[in-house]
């Protein structure tokens, strides 16, 4: 029996796997600019997230939804705006990358380097320690970039 979290993670992988292919088709063949495409998908995404926010979701996902929307605006607006700006730049960059690479899968792999960069940021900002195993993982991940660029 597959644990529920594994199944959900696999479903997430399917969703994340489909989206770039559609984007590549729209930007590459449709000739839509990456920035415009990112804005359009965010407008639609905001509507979808708004609908989802109103639904009773399992495993406590609906808990404090409306309260946290208000908190995002009233208490944490500067950091939320910073996150939104960085997400936007990241999304535009990856969408632009899809249409220029030989295959969208390569771009997602390079983008997965965020875990390595994130671990380094966590080390610097939060003094989160790194184990030897994690250092080997970082080295392997960075070295893999050589093969992706061939």
């Amino acid at each position: 029996m597959i644990p529920q979290w594994v199944l959900l993670s696999l479903l997430a992988a399917i969703g994340y796997g489909i989206s770039p292919v559609i984007t590549t088709g729209a930007i590459g063949e449709g000739g839509i600019g990456a920035t415009a495409w990112t804005i359009c998908t965010h407008i639609i995404g905001a509507i979808l997230f708004g609908i989802v926010l109103m639904l009773p979701l399992p495993v406590g996902l609906s808990k404090n939804g409306i309260r946290d929307v208000k908190r995002s605006v009233n208490e944490f607006l500067p950091i939320v705006v910073l996150i939104a700006l960085l997400f936007w730049i990241g999304d535009v960059a990856i969408n632009a990358s899809y249409s220029r690479s030989p295959n969208p899968g390569y771009c997602d792999t390079v983008s997965d380097l965020e875990s390595v960069i994130g671990a380094l940021f966590a080390l610097v900002l939060f003094k989160a320690p790194l184990t030897e195993r994690q250092m080997v993982g970082m080295t392997v991940a960075v070295f893999s970039l050589y093969f992706l660029q061939l």
Partner: protein, 166 residues
């Protein structure tokens, strides 16, 4: 070291996403728990309904810039109009957004019951292989042996980065 344009762009996205990851971690700590769907909703609203119109008002299709060419802002207003008026493109935009929203919700659901959220990220990262196959089947994108080896190495590296419970 960076030989290709797509690589530089993907790397830029990795840097942005890693900073947001840490910012969300900081926000969650400061707020004492956060509903991630609510946060995603606010982020999408800011990008779609605040940044989008600002770009619409400031973009000038008669001027060309290096950044504009690079990120496709040259025909921004026209492109936005095209997506919402061309049925085929609109369906693609809705499908792409729905897939991303669905994936986010599944991932956050997985976080709540997984022994370690990093494990969920590691599994969801396999999406790159699905994109690889779908891209090849539907778009005729090339698949190179070296790149697939690099993808497998990245996956292995990501697995090693996961914290181990003792």
């Amino acid at each position: 070291m960076i030989r290709q344009e797509w690589f530089a762009l993907a790397l830029l996205s990795a840097i942005c996403y890693s900073i947001t990851g840490n910012a969300i971690f900081y926000l969650g700590k400061k707020a004492g728990g956060y509903n991630m769907i609510a946060l995603n909703f606010v982020i999408y609203v800011i990008v779609g309904f605040v940044i989008g119109p600002i770009l619409m008002l400031t973009s000038d299709s008669t001027k060309t810039s290096v950044v504009g060419e690079f990120l496709g802002t040259k025909n921004y207003n026209n492109d936005i109009r095209r997506v919402f008026s061309d049925r085929k493109l609109l369906i693609k935009a809705v499908a792409s957004s729905a897939a991303a929203v669905f994936a986010n919700i599944c991932l956050y659901s997985a976080y709540t019951s997984a022994p370690n959220p990093g494990m969920c990220d590691a599994i969801s990262s396999s999406s790159a292989f699905l994109s690889l196959i779908l891209g090849s089947v539907f778009l005729g994108s090339a698949i190179g042996g070296d790149a697939v080896f690099g993808m497998l190495m990245m996956t292995f590296g990501g697995y090693l980065l996961l914290p181990v419970k003792k």
